[in-house]
Amino acid sequence: MQHPRRRGTQAPMHHALFFHGETLHLRATGALFWPARQVVVVSDLHLGKSERLARRGGTLLPPYETQATLEKFDRDLETTGAATVICLGDSFDDLAAAGSIDDASRLWLTRLMAGRDWTWITGNHDPGPIDIGGSHRAELTVRPFTFRHIAEPGQSAEISGHFHPKARLAGQSRPCFLADAARLMMPAYGTYTGGLWSNDPALTTIMARDALAILTGTRALAIPMPR
C-alpha cells in the first residue's frame, strides 16, 4: 500500500483558481484576492445585523458581530495589501443599520477605506445610497470580470454573492465559494450569516454540473460541488 503523500500538511490558506485568464486566490477567510490587480472582494458582510433584529422587536443577539467581521476584514486587507476593495452587496443588514452603525465601527471602517479604491455594490438588503465614503454602484466591471450582487443567468466571467452557499465535508458544515467555467459565487463574509446548502435547487440550477465548492474555515479546501 502506498503511503499517502503529505502534501496537505501545510495549511492552504487559499485555493488558487484560474478563471477567465486570471489567477484568483479564494481565501480560507471567505475573501477573494486578485493579485494581479491588488483587488480584495468580500460579499454579504451584513454589518449591523444584531441591531436590526433588536430594532424589530426580536431577540437581543450578542452585539459583537460588526466588531468580529471588521477584525477579520482588517486582517485580510493587511495580509493581502489590497489597493482596491469591492464589497459585493448586503454589506449592511439594512439601510438603517448603515446609518446607525456605532462610532467606533464607523471610524474603523473609515480607517480601512483610507488610501484604498473602494466600491460598495448595492444588495437587496442595502438597496439605496449609504452615508459612507467610497463609490456606490449597482454593478462593476473590471475586465474581464463583472461584479454584481445576484448572479444573472447566461452571464460569463461573473463574480457574485447573495446566496451564502455552504457545504459539508467530513461532518462539518462550512461556508464555501462555488465556481464553474462561467461564474464564481462568494460565501457570506459576515459573522452572523447563515448559509444555503449547495444542493439547494436555487444553486444547482445556476451552477454547471462540474462546478467546484471551495470550503472556507481553517483552510481552503476544494471539492466537487455537493449537489
Binding site: 499517502p4 496537505g8 500538511t9 495549511a11 444584531s50 441591531e51 433588536a54 430594532r55 424589530r56 422587536g57 426580536g58 431577540t59 437581543l60 443577539l61 450578542p62 452585539p63 459583537y64 458581530e65 466588531q67 468580529a68 456605532d102 446566496f163 451564502h164 459539508r168 465535508l169 467530513a170 461532518g171 462539518q172 458544515s173 457570506a188 459573522t191 452572523y192 450569516t193 447563515g194 448559509g195 444555503l196 444542493n199 439547494d200 435547487p201 436555487a202 467546484l212 470550503l215 481553517t218 483552510r219 479546501l221 476544494a222 471539492i223 466537487p224
Partner: protein, 795 residues
C-alpha cells in the same frame, strides 16, 4: 370530610366499585393546601386525584374553571378525558371536562379562554401559553385545584421547573389554590413534596405486592461486551409465546431496531410483534398502539416512548433488555405489566453482556429492597427563569420585586438570590451584555416602576417559543416514489450518510439515496447488513445507587446468586489482580499488543468515565506518555498509549483535573450543544419552524457562531455561566468525578500486571473508541477532500 355527590356514590355502588382507602383519604384531605399521593400503578390514583374536585363541583356546578389537570404526555390528557367521562356521564353530573394541548384546534382554544370548562386537562407547555395572555387573571379567577400527574417524571426535567414557576404565578392569581401531585415511583417523597409546594403532606397508599422479577435464563451465556441482547432471542421468543402480551424494553432506539430486525428473522412461528419508539412516524406508532389495545399483538419491542402513559390492560410480561442503568426507570417499566391493583407485575431482565449480569443482579436487589435512585437536581435552572420572565411580560406589566417574591416560593427557586434574579431580568431586558448596545431597542422597558415589552407585537413570537423541550433537528425518512414516511432521523445522522449507505428504521433495512427538501429519500434494501444503525441514541449512565450496589456485590466472598459463568469470571479476576472496592480507586496497567494500557475502574457512569478519559489523556500527553486513545463504559475507562503510567496519584489531583476541564470545555461540542438549548430556552434565539426551514432561504445561522462570539467578546455573560453549569451536570458529569475523588481520597492503587486481566478484557471489544489527536481533524478533512477530487478526476 368532603363527600361525593349522592348520584356519583350511587353510580359507584351500582357498578360494584368500592373506593380504596387512599381514595377516601384524598377526600378527607380535600382542604389541605397540597397533597402528594404515592400509589402504585393500577391503584386508581388519577381518580383519587379527581375525587375532591367531583365532590366540590357537585351535580350542577356554576360555570368557571375549577380544576387544572397537568400531565407530561398529550396522550394521557385524552385518555383521562375518556376515563373521567365515564363516571361523570354515568352519574349525570353537569361537569364539563376538556383537554387542551398543542393538538387542540385554534377555535377550540379560543373558546376555552372565553368560556373555560370546569376541568381542563393540559400539559405544562399549554399552560405556559395560557398564562402568557393578558386575560389569564380572568380565565383562572375561580381556579380551586391543580392536579399534577406523573409528577416525578416532570420533576426530573426543566418542564417541571417551568411548571412550578407557573404554579407560583397561579397561586398569586388565586391564593386559595390547592395542589395535588400523583406518582407511582418516587425515590425521595419529601424532596418531591417540597417540589410540589412547601406545605405538602404525603399520602402513601398501600404499595401492593412486590413484583415477580428475575433474570432470564438463557442457554448461551451473554457475550463479553456489547449491547442489544440478541443472544437471548430464542429464550425471549419462548417467553413471548408463553404470555398474552409482552413489552420488550430497550435502552436506545438503535438497539431496539437491531433487536427487532433479528427477532423477526428468528420468529418462525410468525407471532405478531410490533416496534414502537420515538423516531417512528406518528402514524406508525398509532397503528402499533391500536393493534396493542385491540389485543392483536403478542409483543412490542419498545424504548422509553412506552415508559409512561396509556394503560395496556393485557400486558402480562415486561422484558428489559440490557442493564436498566437506573432502578427507577426499571420499576416504572415493570409497572407497565398488569395494571390491576393487588396483582404482582411480572418482569424479566436480560443482561446484554457479562458485566451487565452483575448490574442486573444489583438492580434486582435494589427493587427487592425498595430503594430507588435519583440524583438531586440542584437549584432551578436560570434559563427557564429567563423564559418565565419573558412570558410574564407577555401577559402584562409586572413589578420586579413582586415577581421575585413569587418566584422564590417555587421549590427549586427557593435559593435564588435577588442579584441572580436581577441578572436574569437584565438579560431579558437588555441582553445583559458588557457592551451596552441596545439602549434604544431593549426588549423590556420600565415605565412607572413596572416592566413591560417595548414592542407589544413581540408577544406573538415569544409565545411561539415557549416551552423547555428542545427538539433535536430531525428529518423525515421516506421511501423514494412512495409517500409514506417511515420515521425520522437526526439531522446530524443524515449529514453523516453518503448515497449507498444502509441503515435500519422501523425494522427494515433501507438504502440512503438522497436528501431532498428536508426529507431523507431511501429505497428498500432487503437482505443486506445495515452499514450504520446508530441514531438518536440516548446514552444513559448507570446511576450512583446501582454503581454502589455493584461495588458491594464485587466485595462478596462468593456469588451464589450469579450465574456460574459470571461468578467464575469474577473469581479469576480476584486471583490474577483484584476486584474494585468502594473505598479505593483500582487502576490496572499492563502491556498488550505492543501498546501500554491503563484501566481506571471509577464506576462513575459512562459520561463521567468518558470525561475522565479526556482529562487523563490530556495530562498523560503533557507528561510525555504519548496516549493514543481511550474508550469508556459505565464502570471503567481504558487508555492505551506508548509508555506505561508508573505514578498515578498526580493524574488524579482534583485541581489539575478541573484546570484541564476549563481549557478543554471551551471549544467542546458538548458545550455548543448545551449552549443551543440554553439559548433557545432563555429566548436568545428562536426555534426554527418547519415551515420556515422549507422555504429554501438562507437558514438562520447556527448557534455555534453565537457561542464562539460570546466566548471571545463577553466570556462572563449569563448564558455562558448557565451553559457551563448545565454541561457540568449533564453530559460531562464532572460532579461524579468529584464525588469519586472525594470518596477514595488518597487510596489510589495502581496494579502492574503482565497481561490483560479478566475484568479489563471486555473493554477491548467496546465500540466508541476515541482517538487522541492533535491536528488530526484538519488532516482528515484535507485527505478526504483530496480523495474526493481524485475520485472526480480533478487533481
Amino acid at each position: 370530610m368532603t363527600s361525593l355527590p349522592p348520584a356519583l356514590s350511587d353510580w359507584f355502588a351500582a357498578k360494584g366499585w368500592t373506593l380504596h382507602l387512599h381514595q377516601l383519604d384524598m377526600l378527607a384531605r380535600a382542604a389541605d393546601p397540597a397533597t402528594l399521593l404515592v400509589a402504585p400503578t393500577g391503584g386508581g390514583k388519577t381518580l383519587a386525584g379527581f375525587l375532591p374536585t367531583l365532590a366540590e363541583l357537585g351535580p350542577n356546578p356554576p360555570p368557571g374553571l375549577h380544576t387544572l389537570y397537568i400531565s407530561p404526555l398529550k396522550a394521557l390528557t385524552a385518555d383521562i378525558r375518556r376515563n373521567l367521562g365515564t363516571p361523570i356521564e354515568g352519574a349525570a353530573l353537569k361537569i364539563r371536562v376538556e383537554d387542551r394541548t398543542g393538538d387542540t384546534s385554534y377555535t377550540q382554544r379560543r373558546r376555552q379562554r372565553a368560556d373555560p370548562p370546569h376541568i381542563l386537562l393540559t400539559t405544562p407547555e399549554s399552560l405556559a401559553l395560557l398564562l402568557s395572555y393578558e386575560d389569564a387573571p380572568r380565565v383562572f379567577a375561580g381556579l380551586q385545584r391543580v392536579i399534577i400527574d406523573e409528577i416525578h417524571a416532570l420533576a426530573e426535567s426543566k418542564r417541571g421547573d417551568q411548571l412550578v414557576l407557573q404554579l407560583a404565578r397561579l397561586q398569586s392569581l388565586t391564593p386559595g389554590l390547592r395542589r395535588i401531585g400523583l406518582s407511582a415511583t418516587v425515590e425521595n417523597p419529601p424532596a418531591l413534596a417540597r417540589f410540589l409546594s412547601p406545605q405538602t403532606t404525603i399520602l402513601q397508599a398501600d404499595p401492593g405486592p412486590d413484583p415477580d422479577i428475575s433474570m432470564l435464563d438463557t442457554d448461551a451465556p451473554p457475550p463479553w461486551s456489547g449491547g442489544g441482547g440478541r443472544y437471548a432471542i430464542p429464550a425471549i421468543l419462548n417467553e413471548v409465546a408463553r404470555h398474552k402480551t409482552t413489552l420488550i424494553f430497550h435502552n436506545t432506539r438503535a438497539q431496539a431496531e437491531l433487536f427487532f430486525h433479528d427477532l423477526w428473522l428468528a420468529n418462525t412461528e410468525d407471532l405478531p410483534i410490533g416496534i414502537h419508539h420515538g423516531s417512528l412516524s406518528r402514524e406508525q406508532r398509532a397503528r402499533v398502539e391500536q393493534a396493542m389495545s385491540a389485543g392483536a399483538l403478542r409483543a412490542v419491542v419498545c424504548t422509553g416512548s412506552l415508559d409512561l402513559g396509556l394503560d395496556w390492560g393485557d400486558v402480562d410480561l415486561v422484558i428489559q433488555v440490557g442493564a436498566p442503568k437506573n432502578v427507577k426507570r426499571l420499576v416504572q417499566r415493570i409497572g407497565r405489566a398488569n395494571h390491576r391493583y393487588n396483582a404482582p407485575s411480572k418482569a424479566l431482565l436480560v443482561p446484554a453482556n457479562r458485566f451487565e449480569v452483575v448490574e442486573c443482579q444489583a438492580a434486582l436487589d435494589a427493587v427487592r429492597d425498595h430503594t430507588l435512585d435519583g440524583e438531586p437536581r440542584g437549584p432551578g435552572p436560570r434559563d427557564v427563569l429567563c423564559q418565565h420572565i419573558l412570558a410574564t411580560a407577555c401577559a402584562g406589566p409586572f413589578d420586579a420585586d413582586q415577581l421575585y417574591a413569587e418566584v422564590i416560593t417555587a421549590g427549586p427557586y427557593g435559593v435564588l438570590t435577588k442579584p441572580e434574579f436581577d441578572a436574569c431580568l437584565d438579560f431579558v431586558a437588555t441582553g445583559g451584555y458588557a457592551l451596552k448596545a441596545y439602549d434604544r431597542w431593549q426588549r423590556l422597558k420600565q415605565t412607572g416602576g413596572k416592566w413591560h415589552l417595548r414592542d407589544p407585537r413581540a408577544a406573538a413570537l415569544i409565545r411561539q417559543n415557549l416551552g423547555t423541550i428542545i427538539d433535536i433537528e430531525t428529518l423525515k425518512v421516506r421511501l423514494r416514489g412512495h409517500g409514506a414516511p417511515l420515521g425520522e432521523v437526526e439531522e446530524s445522522f443524515a449529514a453523516s450518510l453518503t448515497p449507498g449507505d444502509t441503515f435500519l428504521i422501523g425494522g427494515q433495512i433501507v438504502r440512503y439515496e438522497a436528501l431532498r427538501e428536508m426529507t431523507v429519500e431511501v429505497s428498500r434494501n432487503p437482505g443486506r447488513d445495515p452499514k450504520v444503525a446508530v441514531f438518536s441514541g440516548t446514552k444513559f449512565a448507570t446511576s450512583t445507587l446501582l454503581a454502589d450496589r455493584i461495588l458491594a456485590i464485587l466485595q462478596q466472598e462468593s456469588w451464589p446468586d450469579l450465574p456460574a459463568h459470571t461468578a467464575g469470571w469474577l473469581d479469576l479476576q480476584r486471583q490474577v489482580s483484584r476486584l474494585p472496592d468502594p473505598h479505593s480507586l483500582l487502576l490496572e496497567s499492563f502491556p498488550h499488543d505492543g501498546r501500554e494500557h491503563l484501566v481506571v475502574y471509577g464506576f462513575a457512569g459512562r459520561n463521567a468515565q468518558q470525561t475522565l478519559g479526556l482529562l487523563l489523556t490530556k495530562q498523560m500527553e503533557s507528561q510525555g506518555l504519548a496516549p493514543l486513545g481511550f474508550v469508556a463504559t459505565d464502570y471503567a475507562t481504558l487508555i492505551w498509549g506508548l509508555d506505561p503510567v508508573t505514578n498515578a496519584a498526580p493524574l488524579f489531583d482534583l485541581t489539575t483535573l478541573k484546570d484541564g476541564l476549563e481549557t478543554w470545555l471551551s471549544g467542546n461540542a458538548v458545550m455548543k450543544r448545551t449552549f443551543r438549548s440554553t439559548a433557545l430556552i432563555s429566548g436568545l434565539i428562536e426555534r426554527s419552524h418547519q415551515g420556515r426551514r422549507k422555504s429554501g432561504r438562507q437558514a438562520t445561522f447556527s448557534s455555534d457562531i453565537l457561542y464562539d462570539t460570546l466566548r471571545r467578546y463577553d466570556p462572563d455573560h449569563l448564558l455562558l455561566q448557565i451553559t457551563r453549569e448545565e454541561a457540568l451536570r449533564g453530559l460531562i458529569d464532572f460532579s461524579r468525578i468529584e464525588a469519586l475523588i472525594h470518596r477514595v481520597g488518597a487510596n489510589i492503587n495502581l496494579v502492574r500486571l503482565p497481561r490483560v486481566t479478566p475484568l479489563a478484557a471486555p473493554l477491548f471489544f467496546e465500540p466508541g473508541r476515541i482517538p487522541v489527536q492533535g491536528e488530526g481533524r484538519d488532516r482528515l478533512a484535507s485527505s478526504e477532500a483530496r480523495n474526493l477530487m481524485e475520485a472526480a478526476g480533478l487533481t
